[in-house]
Amino acid sequence: MRDVAIVAFAQTRHTGHDTGLSEAEMILPVINEVKERTGLQRFGFTCSGSCDYLAGAPFSFVSALDAVGAWPPISESHVEMDGAWALYEAWVRLQHGDIDSALVYGFGKSSLGDLRAITTLQLDPYYLAPLGLDQLSVAALQAAAAGVDRAELDEIVRRSRADGRGNAYALDLPEEVPDGFAVEPLKTADIAPITDGAAAVVLATGDLVTRLCDNPAYIRGIAHRIEPHYLGMRDLARSASAAEAARAAGVGKGAVEVAELHTQFAHEEPILRRALELPADTVINPSGGPLAANPVMATGLIRIGEAARRIHDGTASRTVGHAASGPCLQHNLVAVLEA
C-alpha cells in the first residue's frame, strides 16, 4: 500500500436555506481554497460525490465540473454517493502508483426539494418505496429498535448544537431545543438540519505529501462495508457493517482522540460508538457533527476532513472519520487518520 495523506481540506460556510447559488458556484470557493493551500492547479485524479435527485436533474454533477476546470481533459470520476466514497475511489486510484495527487469534493443542496420524500427514492422499488417510507420513518424504526435512553439523546443534541455554534462552518442552531416528535420515538431535535454546502479534500502520496502540508493526515486504514438493504433483514439496534469497516480499517489498533461520525440522527451516535468500539474518552464530533450541519453528499466527506483538520492543526495525532449511506446506516465507511 502506498501511504496516502489528506493534505488540504476546505468546506463552505453551510447554510440552512437556499442562497440561490448554483452547485458549481457553491463548490468553486472550496476548490479554489484547496488549490491555493496546496499550490496545485492540476491533479492526477478528480472525483466527486453528489446525488442528482437533490437537484432533480439527471447528470447534474456534470455541470458542477465547471468549478474544477476540466480542459484540457482531466482524469475524472463521480460517485452517486457521499463525497467520502469519492475519497475512497481516489485513494484506490492513488494505489495504482502512476499519480501522486487527487482532488475530491462532495456537494449538495437539500433545500431544493423535500429531502424526507426524496430519500424514499433510494429504497428498493418493490418492497419499501411503494409504502412511502420516508427518511424520518425509517430512522424512527431504528431509534425504536436501539431504545437509547432519552437523557443520553438529549445530551447528544445539546452538545452537538453547542459545538456547532462554536464552528464557523456549521449552522448556528439555538440552545433552545424544539420539543415534539417527528415520528415517535424520533424527536424533531434528533434530526440533522436541512443544509446546503460543499467540501473539498486534496489527497497526496509520496514526496508530494510533505511538500504540500506541514502536518499531513495519513490515511492508515480505510474500509467500507454494507449490509442488507431491507430493514427487516437486519438487527437495527446495531450496525454490523460499521463494526466490520472499523475492524478492517484498524480503528482499534490505537487510541482514538477524535471521531467524527456521520450521525444524521442522535440515536445513531451510540449505535456507531458501540460498532466502532470507541472508548469514553474519545471526543465525538467536536465540529458539532451532522446535527449541526448536514450538507447531504458532503457530510461524510466533511467528517473525514474534520478528522484530518485535528491532525493538520496539531491538536490530535490519531483520529477517525466515518461516513454512512442508505437507510438506517446500511453502508458505512471508516477512515483512520494519523499524524
Partner: protein, 300 residues
C-alpha cells in the same frame, strides 16, 4: 419568475409520466403473485431460513436461495415500531399509524409495513398483528393495505323496548303534574311526606291516602355534574340534583339549569322552571329543570 421577495424562483417537477415499468424477476414476482392471491410467502435459503419478503440471494451468505416457497403468517409479532403522528401524502394510511418490523409466523426475518393501531400505546414489540388486505389486489406490497392488532374486544349493542303504564300512585302524581302541581303523600302514622306520591309508607308500611299539594320550590341536598351526554339534558356538562321540595321529607331527582355547573351547591334554593303551559302533558318533562331562586342558601 420573481417571487414576492424579488428572488427569481421557479417550480421544477421531476416525474416519469405513467411511472417506470419494472420487471420483478421470478423470486419477487412469486411473492407479489401470492400477495395478489391473498397469501404471504417466504423463500427458503440453502441454510433453511425463511426470508420474508423473499430475496434472490441470502444476505447472510450470498448464496442463491432455494426454489422452495413457504406460506407464512398471516399473523406476526411486532419487533420494532415507530408512530407517525402526521402521515405524509405517500403513506399507506391518512390517519396516525405505526411503522413496524413484523416477524410473521414461520419467518426468520421481519417484514416492514404499516400498522393501524389507533394510538401509539396500542403497539409495542411483542404485539401480535394481522394483515388487512386490500379489496382489489394487483400484485404489489400495498396489496396488504396495512396490519392491525389482534382482536381483543368487541362492542355489544343492547336495546330492548317496553311499554310502561302509570296506573296507581304514579298515575296520580303524573296526572297532577299535567296540571302543574306536585302531589305528595303524607303518612298518617309517621307523618313523613313523600314526593312523588306513593301508595304506602316505605318506613312504616302504612297505606297512604292523604294527598298533599306541594310548592314547586325546594332546596338542593346533593348533586352530580355529568360529563356524558344524555338525551334528556340540554348540554354537557349538566347537573342532576336531589331536590327537597318545601314541605316534603324525600328528595326528587331533577336537572338543575340556569346556572353554570360549577356554581351549583348543596343548600341552594331552586324553583321548577315549567315549559309553556300549552305544551304540558302528564309527564315530568313539564319541568325543564330547577333554577336558582336567588334566595340565601339553606343550612341542611
Amino acid at each position: 419568475m420573481p417571487s414576492e421577495s424579488g428572488a427569481l424562483v421557479a417550480r421544477h417537477v421531476l416525474e416519469f409520466p405513467g411511472g417506470y415499468t419494472r420487471t420483478t424477476g421470478p423470486v419477487i414476482g412469486r411473492f407479489l403473485t401470492e400477495l395478489r392471491a391473498g397469501r404471504i410467502v417466504g423463500v427458503r435459503t440453502a441454510e433453511g431460513r425463511v426470508l420474508v419478503p423473499p430475496l434472490e440471494y441470502d444476505p447472510a451468505t450470498g448464496d442463491a436461495v432455494t426454489s422452495e416457497y413457504v406460506e407464512v403468517g398471516p399473523a406476526g409479532t411486532v419487533t420494532a415500531c415507530a408512530w407517525v403522528h402526521e402521515p405524509r401524502p405517500g403513506h399507506p394510511l391518512d390517519r396516525p399509524f405505526a411503522w413496524a418490523t413484523i416477524k410473521l409466523d414461520g419467518a426468520d426475518t421481519s417484514l416492514v409495513h404499516a400498522v393501524d393501531a389507533g394510538n401509539p400505546k396500542a403497539l409495542s414489540p411483542g404485539t401480535r398483528v394481522w394483515p388487512v388486505w386490500r379489496q382489489d389486489r394487483d400484485g404489489q406490497i400495498t396489496d396488504i393495505s396495512h396490519f392491525a392488532p389482534e382482536v381483543t374486544k368487541i362492542v355489544s349493542h343492547v336495546r330492548a323496548e317496553y311499554r310502561l303504564q302509570a296506573g296507581g300512585a304514579l298515575g296520580t302524581f303524573l296526572e297532577a303534574i299535567g296540571r302543574g302541581v306536585f302531589i305528595g303523600g303524607a303518612c298518617a302514622t309517621c307523618g313523613q311526606v313523600y314526593v312523588p306520591f306513593r301508595g304506602s309508607c316505605p318506613e312504616c308500611g302504612t297505606v297512604i291516602t292523604e294527598q298533599v299539594e306541594l310548592p314547586d320550590t325546594g332546596t338542593i341536598t346533593t348533586f352530580a355534574i355529568n360529563n356524558l351526554p344524555d338525551p334528556r339534558a340540554p348540554e354537557v356538562p349538566f347537573v342532576s340534583a336531589y331536590i327537597l321540595l318545601d314541605g316534603s321529607d324525600s328528595p326528587l331527582i331533577a336537572l338543575v339549569g340556569g346556572v353554570p355547573a360549577h356554581e351549583v351547591r348543596q343548600g341552594m334554593r331552586v324553583r321548577a322552571e315549567w315549559i309553556p303551559r300549552e305544551e304540558w302533558t302528564p309527564s315530568l318533562a313539564n319541568v325543564r329543570w330547577f333554577a336558582p331562586t336567588g334566595e340565601p342558601d339553606v343550612e341542611l
